[in-house]
Each structure stands twice: as structure tokens, then as C-alpha cells.
Symmetry: C2
Subunit: 145 residues, 2 copies
DNA sequence: TCGCAAAACTTCGCATGCGATCTATTTAAG
DNA sequence: CTTAAATAGATCGCATGCGAAGTTTTGCGA
């Protein structure tokens, strides 16, 4: 059958390129309609779905280290999308919660990204989309790497 | 069969997270052994495979816009990995070529990333790796998006 | 209880990438 | 041939992410 060996296929660079293109497109749409960046939208979704969360939890879900979370949340706080208050049970940690403006922006962003994900799925084919989703989920699972 | 609809699966955010994790890991390895970042390694591969290239061609292959290419190449020039000279046939454009140090760094980086890609493929399963590769290639093709 | 390691963030300096805008050159109209 | 439009990069200001190092708070072992 002469299948090309996966090793010859530069998955890493391909994923980088794909992520870059998608991020550029998503960012453009999100900024235009929801006044929010893609990175910020990810935080909005997380807080909308699971309620207020500590910085560390946000970083864990989004695969960001502490400095990245600090910066992202600071900018979102300045934009009045979230608030930050320290946990009375553990004064080291600060808890991030949605503002009303953040909730509203999240609603709009959700619609935009639902459409975008739909387009992506159509573009690569629905069956492939499921396969890619599962494969990347396996790849991203926490063990090792 | 009750397949989960692809729309419910946030492919965009998943690809972002995957790209982030992979980039972090690849960057760490590349810096340690080849003294080069992942973004720089991509340029080294391109020049090594296809010879000297203009800024625009680099941006096209790597899906980077002009400012990103300018910055990346400037840093690589400062690190003595590439040289930049203007094309005599078109003085607007500048042509980027590998230095000997760049060629050597590229050799090492190639080995590191070959191993890394192998690990990725093993992690998601060889068949899935091929499927993901094809799917992302379809996704990244230039038409529209 | 005291003291010290671990945990949770923050700060700093840097690389990366983007859109908007500018400059220099080339190309196309007229 | 002259000028307007297009093209190739560069510059600027910004958001995003990272590793290294610092700060405050917890928690735990002696």
C-alpha cells in the first residue's frame, strides 16, 4: 500500500501553522463582533461554564503557565470583563469571576466560535473532524510529554 | 450510533491548546540542544530544503505576515543563523540565506524534531497521525478561510 | 512552636505574531 | 514618459506566552 510513514510528516510544524491561521481568523471575527480576543474568549467560556475559578485552574485548562495567566487576566480586568478577588481561605490565590460585560461578550463569542468550529469541521470533513478531535485530545492528555 | 456532533467539539480551542503544549516542549528541547527556538527551526528547515528564499516566500510557507517575518529574520540575523541581501533584480525584496552556523543548527534541530514528531505520532497512534496530517493539510490549504 | 519547603501568584525580560501604517521600488495606464 | 497603483518589506504599538526569579502564604516536620 506504500503508506507514507508518519515520521516523514511534520505534524508539529503543521499544527503550528494550522493554529496560527485559525487564531488569526478567529481573532479577527471575535474582535469585530464581540470586542474580545481569542485568548480572552477562551477564559470567558471557562468561567461561563464552570463559574469563578482560580488563576491556577485557568492555566491548567488552557495549558498556560502562571505568567501568561496573570497577564491575560490583568488585561481582561482592565477591559472590565472579569474581576479578581483573593480567596479568603487561601490568601495566596486569587479568584477570577465574570462581570456582566464579560458574560455578554461571552454569549456573542460563543456564537461566533460555534460557527467557526462548524466551518472548520466542514472544511476537513465531519468524520475527520471527530477523528482529529479525539487524536488531539489523546495528545493533550496530561500524562508525560 | 449517537455520534457526538463535531459542532459540539471545540476544535479551534483544542488545536490552540495542543499547539501551545507542543510548542513549549519543542522549544525547550531545541533551545537546549540546538540553541534555536521552534520558530527559528522552521525557517532553518525551509532554507535548508529549498535554498535561499525571499521574506514573502518564508511568510507564505509558515503562514506568517510580513511583520512577523521581519522580526523573526532580524533576530536570526543577529544570532548569525542567516544573512539578508537584497535581490538585484528587485530591490524591494530581500533574500534570506543560511549561514554555516545556521546550517549546522538546522542539522541538529532536524534530528530533535524528527524524534519529537515520532513521539507525537506514537502518542496519538500512527493511523490517527496520518489522518490528522491529512485533515490539517486540507484545513490549511490556501483557498478561502 | 519554629522554621523551612512548597504552593500560588507576580514581576521581569524576552520571543513571537498581529493589524495599521509607512517607505521604496516596480509595474501599468494614459 | 510621466504618474498612479500595486508590491515587498520595515516600523510601530500591542497582545500573547515563556522561563527565571521574587513575594506572600500555607503547611508540615522537628
Amino acid at each position: 500500500m506504500a503508506r507514507v510513514r508518519a515520521t516523514d510528516r511534520r505534524l508539529f510544524l503543521l499544527i503550528e501553522v494550522a493554529a496560527r491561521r485559525l487564531n488569526r481568523e478567529a481573532d479577527m471575527r471575535l474582535k469585530a463582533e464581540a470586542r474580545v480576543t481569542a485568548a480572552q474568549a477562551a477564559v470567558l467560556f471557562l468561567l461561563k461554564r464552570r463559574g469563578e475559578r482560580r488563576m491556577g485552574a485557568i492555566g491548567e485548562v488552557l495549558a498556560l503557565n502562571p505568567p501568561a495567566v496573570t497577564g491575560l487576566i490583568s488585561r481582561m480586568e482592565a477591559a472590565n470583563l472579569v474581576t479578581r478577588h483573593s480567596d479568603p481561605d487561601d490568601k495566596r490565590s486569587s479568584v477570577v469571576a465574570l462581570t456582566e460585560a464579560g458574560r455578554q461578550a461571552g454569549e456573542i463569542a460563543e456564537i461566533i466560535l460555534r460557527d467557526f468550529n462548524q466551518e472548520i469541521a466542514e472544511r476537513i470533513g465531519p468524520d475527520s473532524a471527530d477523528e482529529v478531535y479525539d487524536a488531539l485530545t489523546r495528545l493533550v492528555r496530561d500524562d508525560e510529554l
